[in-house]
């Protein structure tokens, strides 16, 4: 029986019930009874068929209980009850499916982003083929408004891409030659040609979907407990109903017991919350791997961060250009031209900055000479240029005036590396380079603290000076520097031994052992290319710490939601049992209450889908405003 048939049968049975009511008021008793029996049979048959199919598979189903109860009701001549129960059961199941779909809508929204077609350039001809037919090495063309069908590097063109499907970040990112693009992302504007590197089920997007699907199935402890409970609960209700019959000889009460035995709300109370929670996370760029992780995360009180790549961007950038008697852009251009061939990461950073500012590097450096560990010398545009540290300047006999020295050491104290540049034997400027703290880090850490994190610690392999500076800027509780990967593991173990519940956030490569040791391991999974996707408990798809803060708040909300649901479901069962024993609840009303409780549990979980962790602070703001306007009186 498919969904369409169920709808048809349910509405037919509803119509017959309506006719029966009219006949009742018209005083046509016999016609009423016949209509009711017809309604019972029409709605009861599919239930009975399902029950039979389950019996053949040696499964004990809810449908079986309902079928027995309905046959019993017909037997004792309670036609109103039998018709109402079969209708309510079908109608309830329909509503359940519809609302349950809602709790899964976040994931469905993601799946719907999956690309279907690809424009491929083969043998000089452009053809449109199904995504599944694209092969590795194909040259794929994507235009404005189209979806990227595969993972791979851009070989021609440039575009701004909406990568929400992968990162949860909807602000378009601009990409050009050699940048990696991912299946499922959308070309907002532009034209690109890419070479297919990963296709079909191997793309980052397909793997994310698969991981989220598996996460939603992974059962939490609460969930497992509830299922075990339901397994005992259902058969024991059957035995209880037999006992009830033996003692009371009351068939009505016995049948009612059978109907309310279905532990629907109880069984779904935990999973619906978790599914909605994980779906919410996935839409916000956080992959939470299962209900267990969700429950664990909510209990975390200590967070350990790696520095490079986690709290900082992990990629040095030019933070300031200070020039003496020369235009800043000219200084940057000349230095970049000299550094163009340099393999040193600071040199490459300067070149990258120049390119970012769209400065055209037109001159070729002459007689470039690398002074290992200190910098380089070169002739650019007819001028003798030196770029490097103090030692280089001194060895070249270039004087550093007190004002310049003062500026340089000020920059260094702020966590920068100062690159001195001299032109023609005179200091022409200083370019500061630093691995900057992520712009969202401070706010994200504050939010974590607000939501209940008691301790935040940084472990880093970097030097004490830089580490302390980052620690101070972010207000961390403690900072441990110059650590080896095994030291990090030891530190996490020590925290765990002291009774803390520890989450470790790292970039997933050298931090992998510590991530595995912590109660909850978080990895930065930019683009989902790392093995970290598989090993960590939580993956931040866009490498953004505010996503972690959201996940933490979300986990607490999810666990709360689950508790509410469980409490409500258990409460309903207790009330129903009492009602039955007192003779207040009968077949139809028992089924009605039961179905209503299932729906309420699902509706409560749906609230989680729209959950945004910022709401709390917004509300605070509005409360403050209210106070202000009230104050002047």
């Amino acid at each position: 029986m498919n969904a369409k048939q169920t709808v048809r049968i349910t509405s037919l049975s509803a119509m017959l019930l309506g006719i029966a009511i009219i006949l009742h008021f018209a005083g046509l008793h016999d016609a009423r009874q016949i209509t009711l029996i017809a309604a019972t049979i029409i709605a009861g048959t599919p239930i009975a068929i399902k029950a039979w199919k389950a019996i053949r598979m040696k499964a004990f189903s809810i449908e079986l209980l309902v079928t027995i109860a309905v046959i019993g009701a017909l037997f004792i001549g309670e036609y109103v009850e039998s018709a109402a129960v079969t209708f309510l059961f079908l109608f309830g199941a329909l509503l359940e499916i519809r609302t349950m779909e809602k709790t899964r809508s976040s994931l469905k929204a993601l799946v719907d982003l999956a690309p279907l077609e690809a424009s491929v350039l083969r043998d000089g001809k452009l053809t449109t083929i199904a995504v599944d037919d694209v092969e590795i090495g194909d040259r794929v063309i994507v235009r404005s408004g189209e979806q990227v069908p595969v993972d791979g590097p851009i070989v021609s063109g440039n575009a701004s891409l909406n990568e929400a499907a992968i990162t949860g970040e909807s602000v378009p990112a601009s990409k050009s030659l050699d940048d990696q693009v991912f299946s499922g992302t959308l070309v907002d504007n532009g034209y690109i040609e890419i070479i297919a590197e990963r296709v079909g089920d191997d793309t980052a997007f397909a793997r994310i979907i698969e991981l989220v699907e598996e996460a939603q199935e992974a059962k939490s402890k609460t969930q497992k407990f509830l299922e075990r409970f339901a397994n005992i609960y259902t058969p024991s209700i059957v035995i209880l109903s037999i006992i009830v019959y033996i003692f009371t000889r009351n068939i009505e009460m016995t049948l009612t017991f059978l109907v309310i035995a279905c532990p629907g709300a109880l069984v779904i109370s935990a999973p619906v919350s978790i599914v909605a929670g994980i779906g919410n996370g996935a839409r916000h760029g956080v992959l939470i791997k299962g209900g267990d992780v969700m429950e664990q995360l909510a209990k975390i009180d200590t967070v350990v961060f790696d520095k490079t790549g986690t709290l900082t961007k992990g990629r040095p950038e030019v933070t300031d250009i200070h020039s003496f008697g020369i235009d800043k852009e000219d200084l940057l251009r000349l230095t970049a031209e000299a550094e163009l061939m340099s393999e040193h990461h600071l040199g490459q950073t300067i070149v990258r900055e120049a390119k970012k500012r769209l400065i055209h590097l037109k001159h070729q450096a002459q007689d470039a000479q690398v002074m290992k560990g200190n910098g380089l010398l070169a002739e650019v545009d007819g001028q003798q240029l030196a770029a490097g540290n103090r030692k280089l300047m001194i060895s070249q006999g270039i004087a550093i005036s007190p004002t310049i020295e003062e500026y340089a050491s000020k920059r260094e104290k702020a966590g920068n590396t100062a690159v001195f540049i001299s032109i023609g034997g005179e200091i022409a400027g200083i370019i500061s380079i630093a691995d900057q703290i992520r712009p969202e880090a401070a706010a994200a850490l504050a939010k974590l603290r607000r939501n209940g994190i008691k301790q935040m610690i940084m472990l880093t392999g970097d030097n004490v000076h830089t580490a302390r500076l980052v620690g101070e800027q972010l207000g961390l509780d403690s900072v441990y520097a110059e650590l080896l990967p095994e030291d990090k593991v030891a530190a996490v173990q020590k925290l765990k031994a002291a009774g803390h519940r520890v989450a470790m956030a790292g970039d997933g490569i050298n931090d992998a052992p510590a991530i595995a040791t912590a109660d909850i391991g978080l990895a930065m999974g930019k683009g989902g290319t790392d093995i970290s996707m598989e090993t960590a408990d939580i993956v931040l798809m866009a490498d953004r710490l505010d996503q972690f803060a959201h996940a933490y708040a979300l986990s607490k909300a999810t666990v709360n939601n689950m508790k509410q649901n469980t409490f409500f479901a258990v409460g309903t069962v207790v009330l129903l049992l009492i009602g039955v024993l007192l003779g207040k609840v009968f077949l139809a009303s028992g089924m009605l209450i039961h179905e209503a409780s299932v729906l309420l549990v699902i509706l409560n979980a749906i609230r989680l889908i729209r959950y945004t962790s910022d709401k709390v602070s917004n509300r605070n703001v509005s409360e403050v405003k209210v106070n202000e306007s009230a104050a002047p009186q």
Binding site: K53, S61, M100, Q216, E217
Partner: protein, 73 residues
Amino acid sequence: MKKAVFLMEPFSCPSCVKKIEGALSRAKGVQQVKVLFHSSKVRVEFDESVVEANELQELIVKLGYPVLNQKVS
């Protein structure tokens, strides 16, 4: 060894999962069955020399669960 993914109509009760998993895992040539309740999918790993994906699909349909789509890889 092949892997088939069947897309189902949305499941309404967790007991369906046990039914399908039980019946499929008893079938010949089936190595592993996983019913994804929330994403309405059935994943089966099977030996293609013993059983065909269509036979597995038939088995699921016989249990009373319509299959919307089949993907074998």
